[in-house]
């Protein structure tokens, strides 16, 4: 990239220098100026059809579509001049003449670009006196509903299916103001990545059936997180309403998921809202589990573990921090995990982006920290070992297999029925309720943050395990997950050099991760 020619231009009085070939719209972003636009999306080919991003370029005869005009040396661009504002006002009025203006019942309301720009730059009234065109809503298959009356024909959805998903399902049907998004005969939006069209739609024309009428945009709390549902580790925003996760949407990261996430990952969030939780620490008394205080439970667990051979059955959903602390309480014991598998579903137009076969967030992290991947979870459990069940649901495990353990300690969000004879149960937060890091299949360490409050007396996994380590008489002085991670980075060569600050919210690769390919920016549209 060293030989890239730089071009200097002035946008709204600010001088910017960008690589040759950059569009005016992208150049303006670097100067902190957002030029209003609809059809342009950095993850899609340029269409230049909405005409919203028209700007005045000095010495040019006409207004220029900034999404489709590349910068030139010495250019002077006016984004908010009278001429450009007048053009955008015109576009906004035209976009609204056939729009039903049904914001009060529209799911997009509050996060609608048509709404935003109209408030920002549009007319306060309309001069339209004629009947509006009407088309009925249509089920597009998959998770998508199409409401043509709200559609502004930006064609982002069409371009996503054609050029990114490589599954041409959508088209522009009809001409003139009769035009609407159509579906090719016999086809449905069943592509495993099709729901991205809902995110891409700048207005309320494409809606998610799953999210339909569930919440208004302004009621949502948004948290930067990672999709825990496969090893790709797509960056997401977890959206909660009254402490319930109601939607996951992709968060752009050019190294992992570009602008997209798959339907399976997106819709598989309900398990994080589950109600059948262990909410209090418990100890086994007289063949039954009785609620108790954290101090007593931690002390009991430490006593059970100290000096014993330990076998840890961990979940690959646990964070690097929790898994690291588990290795500390193993005292030379063994750790194993298993992972649910499904079919791999790549997104054809983006390099190295797929719904992965292994459906858990931290398979790579668990392996990097020395846990064995196995299909027979308790194969390594020796007679007389102390079994620590960490986040594992023990589905399909026979009571007989567990009986080999001298004692069972459960550190989990949900108490598996087969482990109800545990001597100690320590309730921990699930993925959406705590902070931490996970490592994706390309060795990229990424942070996730707390989106929901954990129920009852539940505590974050790193805190519980840190306390347990302390009670076992080992060095433990953790007040923040970042301190656990610092300890991990200090003691483990693979994680050396990383910290929460350096990882940030785009992640960083492990020392031994491949430096090219997946961890280089991924190219959208590269087939």
């Amino acid at each position: 990239m060293a030989d890239t020619k730089m071009v200097s231009l002035t946008i709204e009085g600010r001088t910017v220098s960008v690589p040759d070939g950059t569009t005016i719209l992208e150049a303006a972003k670097t100067a902190g100026i957002l030029i209003p636009h609809y059809c342009y999306h950095p993850g899609l080919p340029v269409a230049g059809v909405c005409r919203m991003c028209l700007v005045e370029v000095e010495k040019a005869p006409k207004l220029a579509p900034s999404c489709a005009t590349t910068v030139a040396e010495g250019q002077v661009v006016h984004v908010h001049s009278d001429k450009s504002l007048d053009a955008r006002k015109g576009v906004l009025e035209m976009l609204l003449i056939n729009h039903p203006l049904d914001c009060p019942i529209c799911d997009q309301s509050g996060e609608c670009e048509l709404q935003d720009y109209t408030y920002q730059e549009g007319r306060e009234d309309s001069r339209y006196r004629e009947p509006k065109r009407f088309n009925p809503a249509e089920d597009f298959g998959g998770d998508v509903i199409y409401v043509p009356n709200r559609c502004i024909l930006c064609t982002r959805c069409v371009r996503f299916m054609d050029d990114v998903a490589h599954d041409p399902v959508l088209n522009v049907s009809e001409r003139g103001d009769r035009a609407l998004i159509g579906k090719f005969e016999g086809k449905d939006l069943t592509h495993p990545w099709a729901s991205n069209v809902v995110d891409l739609c700048p207005v309320g024309a494409l809606l998610s059936k799953d999210f339909l009428n569930k919440a208004r945009a302004w009621e949502l709390d948004r948290t930067a997180s990672i999709c825990p549902n496969c090893t790709q580790g797509c960056n997401v925003t977890m959206e909660t309403r009254e402490n319930q996760l109601v939607r996951m949407r992709p968060r752009p990261n050019e190294h992992v998921n570009a602008f997209f996430m798959c339907d399976w990952g997106r819709l598989n969030y309900r398990w994080m809202n589950e109600k059948n939780r262990v909410e209090q620490p418990m100890v086994g008394r007289a063949r039954a589990l009785a609620p108790t205080s954290w101090e007593i439970a931690i002390t009991a667990a430490a006593r059970a573990l100290n000096g014993k051979k330990v076998f840890v059955a961990a979940s690959p959903m646990l964070s690097n921090e929790a898994l690291f602390l588990l290795t500390q309480i193993m005292q030379g014991g063994v750790g194993a995990f298993r992972v649910t598998e499904g079919e791999e579903a790549p997104l054809a137009g983006v390099k190295d982006l797929a719904l992965r076969r292994e459906r858990a967030a931290n398979v790579y992290g668990a392996q990097a920290l020395g846990f064995n991947k196995t299909t027979d979870l308790l194969a390594g459990l020796k007679q007389g070992d102390v079994l620590v069940v960490a986040g594992e649901d023990l589905a399909g495990i026979e009571a007989a297999a567990i009986a080999r353990a001298s004692e069972v300690i459960v550190i989990s969000s949900i108490l598996p029925e087969v482990a109800s004879n545990a001597s100690v149960v320590l309730p921990i937060a699930n993925f959406s309720e705590e902070e931490g890091t996970v490592t994706n299949l390309r060795g990229r360490v990424q942070r996730f943050t707390q989106a929901r409050q954990a129920p009852g007396d539940t505590r974050p996994s790193w805190l519980v395990l840190g306390d347990l380590l302390g009670a076992m008489g080992k060095q433990s002085n953790f007040f923040l997950p970042s301190e656990v991670f610092a300890s991990l980075a200090a003691s483990n060569k693979t994680f050396a050099g990383l910290s929460y600050d350096s990882i940030g919210f785009k992640g960083l690769p492990l020392a031994n991760a491949p430096s090219t390919g997946p961890n280089a920016p991924i190219a959208v549209g590269a087939a």
Partner: protein
């Protein structure tokens, strides 16, 4: 009098010479009339020399924009290692225009020859003739002509025995006005929906299949043959007005005239004489009110403007309009201008490709307001709204369809505001009743 009648003595039939002559349609008949001599001559010349002759002749695009043809051809850089393509735009859909239809119906071999000359001149081995889907008869004759030309070795791997390859393919459109826009035509030719592309890149850089492409109108390509045969000077001399507009031009005349038809006159011909003498003037008892001289998308002229016009690229501009495609629509005092403009707007609203917001919504909105005014439901504010919409539709979209819809509305309101106001104020339009002849 212009085809379908005998030519008027003031006409200069160069391209339209064989209109009505069924024999000229066949290869044998065409050769008898001197056909393919120009191609023979061209293939013996260096491509750059052909381009120079055409440049020298002053031939300008006959499809509407009037871009100098020789200069367009010179944009095709020889030896760039890429295949070049020639497209012939035979998607003649501009309302009021039917000159290319007649050219292809009567002299299909003239177009085959023109395409071959053009292709050779720009270094292309392949030429596509994109014919409007509704033109079933021209399509039939063109396909016959191409078949005959291949059979006689005029086209193909060894064109005219010179060892040069020239292929001509006839492609049938599917009935969209917008496919007459050059980049939409290319999209359509490639098998996609006919949506205009963003320019740049221009076709000479990236056209059909992403390769350098030249696109010319039917009349333009056909004119190349007589220019090569008779020389640039001969062509240049055919002008009654100025040296920027040379040669002959076909005008297809329709509407309220005594003798509608296709006329060929030299550039700079007086429009008044053309309308009253060649076309026979208005029907009995009527008077001309307005003229749309270059297809529906050029500004409307008042009859006074029309009568003062010299028929060439500059002459029409000087009198408030454009030469356009040469589709002359004549409107007499029996017509309501509001009605005429509403109908034109409806056409553009129907044909908008729906890409750009201003065009998709603006053409339809304009139509709705125009029809409301026509039906006596208009308000005075509507006129301002119309002009404002037209302003938003001008110069802001990918192609000029949107501008084309705005043009008749703006010129109509400007020049015939009285008719709009009369309808708005509740006065019915009273057409002049024609006197019995």
């Amino acid at each position: 009098m212009g085809y379908p009648n005998q030519p008027h003595q003031r006409e200069t039939p160069v391209l339209s010479r064989y209109f009505g002559d069924t024999e000229a349609r066949s290869l044998a008949g065409w050769k008898k009339r001197g056909g393919y001599k120009a191609l023979d001559k061209a293939l013996g010349m260096a491509p750059a020399d052909i381009v120079n002759v055409v440049k020298e002749s002053g031939l300008r695009g006959r499809g509407g924009a009037g871009f100098p043809t020789g200069m367009k051809w010179s944009f095709m850089k020889p030896g760039d290692g890429k295949p070049h393509y020639l497209c012939c735009n035979a998607d003649e859909s501009e309302p009021g225009t039917f000159k290319d239809r007649e050219l292809m119906r009567w002299t299909p071999h003239a177009l085959v020859e023109g395409c071959a000359i053009g292709a050779y001149a720009i270094g292309a081995e392949t030429a596509y003739v994109y014919i409007r889907g509704e033109f079933t008869e021209p399509l039939y004759w063109m396909e016959q002509a191409v078949k005959e030309a291949y059979g006689a070795g005029i086209l193909g791997k060894n064109a005219m025995g010179t060892g040069k390859r020239i292929d001509v393919h006839v492609h049938k459109g599917a009935g969209a006005y917008i496919c007459g826009e050059e980049t939409a035509l290319m999209e359509s030719l490639e098998g996609r929906r006919g949506n205009p592309r963003i320019k740049p890149p221009f076709p000479a850089v990236s056209g059909v299949f992403g390769m350098p492409t030249t696109i010319n109108n039917v009349e333009t390509l056909i004119a190349a043959a007589p220019i090569l045969m008779n020389g640039a000077d001969w062509y240049k001399k055919m002008s009654l007005s100025n040296p920027k507009s040379t040669g002959t031009k076909l005008f297809s005349v329709c509407g309220n005239v005594q003798r509608p038809g296709t006329y060929e006159v030299v550039m700079g011909f007086p429009f008044k004489e053309f309308l009253y003498d060649l076309c026979g003037g208005p029907p009995h008892g009527r008077k001309f009110k307005a003229v749309i001289p270059g297809g529906a998308s050029v500004p409307i002229q008042t009859v006074e403007e029309a009568e003062a016009t010299l028929m060439d690229y500059e002459g029409f501009v000087a009198q408030g309009s454009m030469l356009g495609s040469g589709g002359v629509i004549v409107i007499d005092d029996g017509q309501s201008m509001v009605s005429v403009i509403a109908r034109i707007a409806r056409f553009f609203a129907h044909e908008s490709c729906a890409q750009c917001t201003q065009c998709r919504e603006g053409t339809a909105w304009t139509t709705k307001i125009m029809e409301r005014i026509r039906d006596g439901q208009g308000t005075i504010e509507d006129l301002d709204t119309l002009l404002d919409i037209a302003e938003q539709m001008t110069g802001k979209t990918i192609c000029v369809l949107s501008d084309s819809c705005a043009v008749p509305v703006v010129s109509g309101i400007k020049k015939f505001r009285g008719e709009f106001e009369a309808l708005i104020q509740g006065r019915r339009f009273h057409p002049v009743i024609a006197a019995v002849a």
